[in-house]
Symmetry: D2
Subunit: 363 residues, 4 copies
């Protein structure tokens, strides 16, 4: 099992960056759900490159073709398969990468795993391009969740040294949805401008930046998730680390909680509006792996894009010695902003899976 | 699925803090592995409370009783079941917790999940006491891994505001093993003294502290793990979030990588000693979810113990109104140091599972 | 994964025939379900040996001890662990079985799997004694299903050459329950007498008999199960083949359907009593892997007990040559009648798991 | 989970009989395996309809298009996706099937599951057409297994009342391979002629026939499979019941074993040619769920095709009353012969998965 996740809703991604087509299967999707292609297209546009100098100049056409699972635009219960054709299947830019692994990429580990049977890029399956089918699946999940009053949204909490404001204690559906409508998904547009400037600077220097994405979900009932290893955190983390370049996942206060005292970190419960709520949300809406009904909040750390144009120290696997590598071609100086919808997509898929499973704590 | 994890090696934990017994099944353990009970006992002693004022004063007897899976001290291939009897099954300290959920605990979420059918503690299954059987399983995994040259060790990277030095670039087996022999698992004993002092201060103030645990594994071959959702990071994170109080997991530079530039974060490959190695390890030994042969390094954030003796704001679920809660009894002012062997245990279990699966990249 | 099955309800069996204790974990059991120990004890008594000359003369005490998962006799949501102590842990009868594999047993295959690390019986994990914890789990599942109007019952359809009548088209809950109250579970007591006589004859001849068990479940809603590989048949068969000695599983007319014509085998739908029903049930209540609302009917073939007292041809694994084996001691001349409650147990566990999952065809 | 199976090798099928395309993902395939398209094409041709009057007259073009997973005809480690385009996407023959469920089909159960959201055929996902992608995957698995000396072959053991000879005790690779080269896959061609005649007769009468398929695999090492629920039988049965129309699965003597005595059914072990073998194979090569090294032998029962042209009794779901149905169009009077390669395909996929997992009984 590798390019799959999920329990009742199974998501399986396939494709290589430079193959015929890439795609996704969603198996276990409920029937009777209309898919709005316009909303889906707008969602997919958010991760597309080529929007500006902030991203790679490669143009992708991410219009999904649905091979199965729909009857007149509505899910029919059978597995849904959507594919995206690759226009630009084999680029000369990658030709020299069969012997010299790029630092920070999976070239060397793919070579070790597949005994050099595949090219250095593991057939290109590690490409960020594979997040496009993930977004198709996640975009569909978001539409279905929204009908149940569950909204998922994310923004850039930081890029390099620049930071955005965190989500408020109770983000509204409007706030979460608005992130997707901005060209640069931040709460504080001034911070966004500083981030954009930092990315352009890194680009000019042939370098790259990373960032932190904050994602929230509202409308989840209390009681979702299982104790210990079947909790919401376990399942979200397991899936989120499947997004290329993610190197850390935390919930609520996360690593910062480790520096707080119990009296600061514990969220006081309140009885408000006929239900239990809390005065703070250091727990990120999850206690003991189970949702509390407070907003679910998580952060994911995106490392700086490993593809940089500066000369780098590496090795030649054939000559068994050190080598220097200079990568030319089209690269993203930062992928954190493009990864924002991907984090939303994966979060939505896990939450839909858990919501389908329901709270079977009692029968 | 909830209190279980693993693929070829399945680990299933059962028990409640105040029930008859707690225990663990290991299903899929290879046959022919001798278990050294003395080494296992020393490992279990590391998480035991009652060692000092730094922990709860409750005494536990964690001597495991093996119900199955061994023939004359050697694994026989059948599922191994080990249990620990609870001496002290029902404490008056917890008697009043049937209506008023403790902030920061799973009391309320367990109530929401099980519709109040269980007591507020979900039958006590969320207890840190359940980490004892996890350590039995993990201690066994560590012994088996060591025979293959794989060593797992962890230390406290921080407690509250106090920080230890990180592991060196290439931690040795001796260094990793030495952590388990110290009364307080840190690299820099001066830092350890500051941490202990901080914990005692928090205790006197009726408060608690969290911390960050750093865990490393050496001796792993390159090529373990599957792309995307079956990677080493996915599987480790999924299991580590099963340890109570863990709120964040990161690999290598993790969240710090998000503040680095690509030129800083990329680990230059080197050809040394007839093999590929690297000049730095921001990747934590994992690229594209697959091991690189460099040491695997991860950090896990432990929140401050939610049980504090200060009065706290909460609610009465029966009266449907706010309430104040003061918890008396035996509490850990910090569990981060006791969680160090638990993080080792879970890491060892996941790595043994992956190592059993092997690198089936080629046939 | 080996001694486990289930999706939302995970059942994990452990123990060896001659170890300290055997037992079972049920993880994912809904909270709030009272367990009637008397009914459970009566269910367990049905598989117990030593009732008559029809079974082995070995006495077992199958009183389950609940280590976790219950609060005052009611499930609490935490994993339930129940164990049975082995009184009689190491029998001299088995002493000589370390070199000479018994024909028809797993001795040789366990030796091949575990490279001779375990004794020839794979640590005794293949023993029919392990069906006792399965029956504890299944007995609990039956009680919970009955509260939802789902009843599971089984009878001996044949023993050797003797056959019972099949279940009627619409077995009632009373009929299904009545099977458990008979000393010999058949619909036609005359057939039962012939079966008992045949078993006693085989016993006198130092030989053994097999049989076919028919199991039915009523009260299932239409729409349970997933297409293709997640169907009710797939999941039931996967679990039923875990019962030692089961060599065939069929649904409805099963193998007999292969000899019918479509016009005979198709079950005509009827509209009766405000709902869809059928004039026959060759499908065994399952079409396309999904329940139709008709009674679920399956048959499982039990091979003759391999332990016979006649001399048998086998090999010596150490001397690498042929050998003759004569097994003395206590053996069942037939286990088919004792396997009847085991088939019920496994069927009930799978159905409870599927029922908990529900029909998530729509959201 | 529904249209998927496998552990290390995951197979996921998608598509509807009358959608844009149908296909399959194989995730976990080892890298470096060349796929011979000619051999694959010949394998696919075996299940194709339209070869004679024995099958439906519908023409299918089953030429697979590989979207991912191959580099120059060799597997690269990334998930392999192959699709088949549907030429003939929406047939008028099916137009009237939205209200009146066909007896013996999944129409009614799909309606019950998906609450009528899909058409009566669950979007056509239950179609036998979906066995084409299964055969692509299985044909690839067969090629990889053959390189390891493992051969899988099947024949028609019976059609209606006509029976073929069973496989000999030790079928050779040549014998197994030869079945695929015959227009009608039987050992005894005279029996085959009788079967063909019976099918044509059923066709003329507007009726249909079922059959039994016997499948064997040779070259498997002893020691594959896990005890109890992870055995070879469990996993093969779970997958085989995913083939439409399969209603029974048995191993070795199967249901016939239930009529034998232990002294007849036990397979005497022999020491021959430096290894353990057996004088008979009632166990079908599996003892305790684990392979013995003897040929693996199983039988699968295929029900008569439910699509018959005779008038049948059914209901109108909208009018909530009885109805009569007459189905016109292109139907298979028997699918058992076309299901022969499908049984081989699924068997090969499960065996490749288990072989990749290897015998991890010891470390």
């Amino acid at each position: 099992m590798s390019s799959e996740f999920g329990k009742l809703l199974r998501v399986s991604v396939f494709g290589q960056s430079h193959g015929t087509a890439i795609g996704v299967i969603m198996d276990g999707l409920p029937a009777g759900e209309a898919i709005d292609r316009e909303i889906l297209g707008a969602f997919l546009a958010r991760r597309k490159p080529g929007n500006s100098l902030l991203s790679t100049q490669r143009r992708e056409t991410d219009a999904p073709i649905f091979l199965s699972g729909l009857e007149e635009g509505v899910t029919c219960g059978a597995p849904l398969c959507a594919v995206i054709e690759n226009r630009d299947q084999r680029s000369a830019d990658y030709a020299k990468l069969t012997d010299i692994p790029r630092p920070g990429h999976a070239d060397y580990t793919a070579w070790a795993k597949w005994k050099g049977q595949a090219d250095l890029r593991g057939g290109g399956h590690f490409s960020g391009r594979l997040t496009a089918p993930l977004c198709i699946a996640g975009g569909i999940a978001k539409q279905i969740l929204a009908r149940k009053g569950i909204f998922v949204g994310a923004h850039l909490l930081s890029v390099g040294q620049e930071t955005d404001a965190p989500f408020p204690l109770f983000p509204t559906a409007e706030l979460l949805e608005s992130m997707g409508k901005k060209p640069f998904p931040v709460l504080d547009d001034k911070a966004g401008e500083r981030m954009e400037k930092a990315i352009l600077e890194a680009r000019q220097e042939g370098d790259s930046l990373g960032g932190v994405i904050q994602c929230a979900a509202i409308g989840l009932p209390a009681g979702l998730g299982e104790p210990m290893f079947g909790g919401v955190e376990n399942r979200l983390a397991a899936a989120l680390f499947g997004i290329p370049a993610i190197k850390g996942v935390e919930f609520g206060a996360g690593f910062a909680a480790a520096r707080l005292r119990g009296s600061e970190n514990n969220d006081p419960f309140l009885w408000e509006g006929g239900r239990v709520t809390a005065a703070s949300n250091h727990a990120g809406g999850i206690l003991g792996g189970i949702t509390s009904g407070m907003p679910l909040v998580l952060q994911a750390a995106v490392k700086p894009t490993p593809s940089i144009s500066r000369p780098q120290q590496t090795v030649s696997l054939s000559r068994k010695e050190g080598a220097e590598l200079e990568i030319h071609g089209r690269h993203d100086p930062c992928i954190a902003h493009r990864a924002v919808p991907v984090v939303e997509a994966v979060t939505a898929l896990v939450l839909l899976d858990m919501r389908l499973e329901g709270n079977h704590g009692t029968f």
